[in-house]
């Protein structure tokens, strides 16, 4: 097990992504951040705080649970649901930035696009991830990436955030056997 991203790198990556989001979208009052539970939701809150301190405006931030839209439900044991909370201004005609911790097969984001389509029609949908580990199975690409991390499909990436795990770190684990 090795540390792929220590705490200071995570903090820098979030600050940089916040700047990139502001740069690309201009008026931050038109941005809605939607974190994908569990860790994406916390990353979205951190990004919102950064964007607020950069722009001086408050930023709409919520969560989007995608469990009911997954295409692999029948392959796994029943999953617990997480809350969806769409901020007051909704998603209609807004720049929605989906936030997740790890981008891997792209299937979570595919499900998120479906879930988002049920809520409304944003002007644009963008994707911010802390780690892109490759091995996409769908034509999906992130707009903002904290770190590109080349992995083998057998490796496991673990993202720990201080809000949940007491520490900020991204770990790379080898699977034994």
């Amino acid at each position: 097990m090795s540390t792929a991203l220590p705490a200071p790198d995570i903090a820098r990556a979030i600050t940089r992504i916040a700047h990139e989001i502001c740069e690309r979208n201009g008026d931050s009052r038109l941005i809605t951040l939607l974190g994908i539970p569990t860790r994406g939701a916390h990353l979205a809150l951190r990004l919102a705080a950064e964007i607020e301190s950069i722009s001086g405006n408050s930023v709409e931030c919520g969560t989007l649970d995608i469990t009911m839209h997954r295409d692999d439900l029948r392959l796994r044991a029943p999953r617990a649901l997480a809350p969806t909370s769409i901020p007051p201004l909704g998603v209609e005609d807004r720049h929605v930035v989906l936030v997740d911790d790890v981008l891997f097969s792209g299937r979570t984001i595919r499900a998120a696009l479906d879930a988002l389509g049920e809520v409304g029609r944003p002007k644009t949908v963008q994707l911010a991830v802390l780690v892109d580990r490759g091995h996409r199975q769908l034509p999906i690409k992130a707009d903002y990436v904290g770190k590109n991390l080349p992995t083998s499909p057998q490796q496991i990436i673990k993202v720990h955030l201080s809000e949940l795990d007491g520490v900020d770190e991204v770990l790379l684990e080898e699977v034994v056997g």
Binding site: M68, H69, R74, R76, A77, P78, R79, P83, E118
Partner: protein, 315 residues
Amino acid sequence: MRHLLSIADLTKNDALSILNTAETLSRASDGPMKKLPTLRGRTIVNLFAEDSTRTRISFEAAAKRLSADVINFSAKGSSLSKGESLKDTAQTLQAMGADAVIIRHSASGAAHTLAQGQWMSGSVINAGDGTHEHPSQALLDAFTIRKHCAHGNDDLTGLRIAIVGDILHSRVARSNVLLLSMLGAHVILVAPPTLLPIGVEYWPVTISYDLDSVIENVDAVIMLRIQIERMTEMYLPNAGEYARFFGLNMDRLARMKPHSIVMHPGPMNRGLEISSESADSARSVIVEQVKNGVSVRMAILYLLLAGNQDLEISL
């Protein structure tokens, strides 16, 4: 968890995961009613060999909101009324590719027979079997009580809940006694002695014959339907006397604790077990129970059908 036959089959964690899932679903549906794709392509059969309105419609609404295909099958107008056996019906449903069967039957244990019979591979959900159990009703009652009375707690620890009326014939009472006491509530059964079952002294409950002494000190009261036939069957002297001793009226309602609630699984006999004013009062959550029923049944269908039941539950 492949079937939902009885509350007795559930652990406290199973019950809480159903309630928590239902809560997430009910919050998501506060906005416009959204259809979820989760059970697309799955077939759910409503097999109702006994009359029902709200349970059948509630399960149907829940299944449709999850995008399942629903086939309604009622005793009247089907081969069940021609005397077809449960086995033959089950094999027919299996051949049609039913992923789940929601069964209501007048015989206690019918759902269990269907689940254990190896005649079909789908899930079986008990929507009321004779005088045995009605687990989805108990779950929606627990959900409603938790929402109003539990002050943010996960379970019902410390709450006092009265169930009033025909305990003897009530599957709702049996399921509720098991579930509410499992969740930590203190259950008080209030009924005339003729309407209490043999062996009730071994249930995890307190028994009372006097509604007036109980009503002031409960967080929720569940009024049960009194069937008119019970008068002719000599369980009760007459409707007026029952209403006077065991009915909920405005006088009793006024003596309840400030935030306590009034529940009824329906259909109500207004004027018999519950007065019309009490049923429509601010304490009454009877209409909300129906709404909660859809969320709870969506949670049941989701947990039973969406995942792979051969794998361990990771809730």
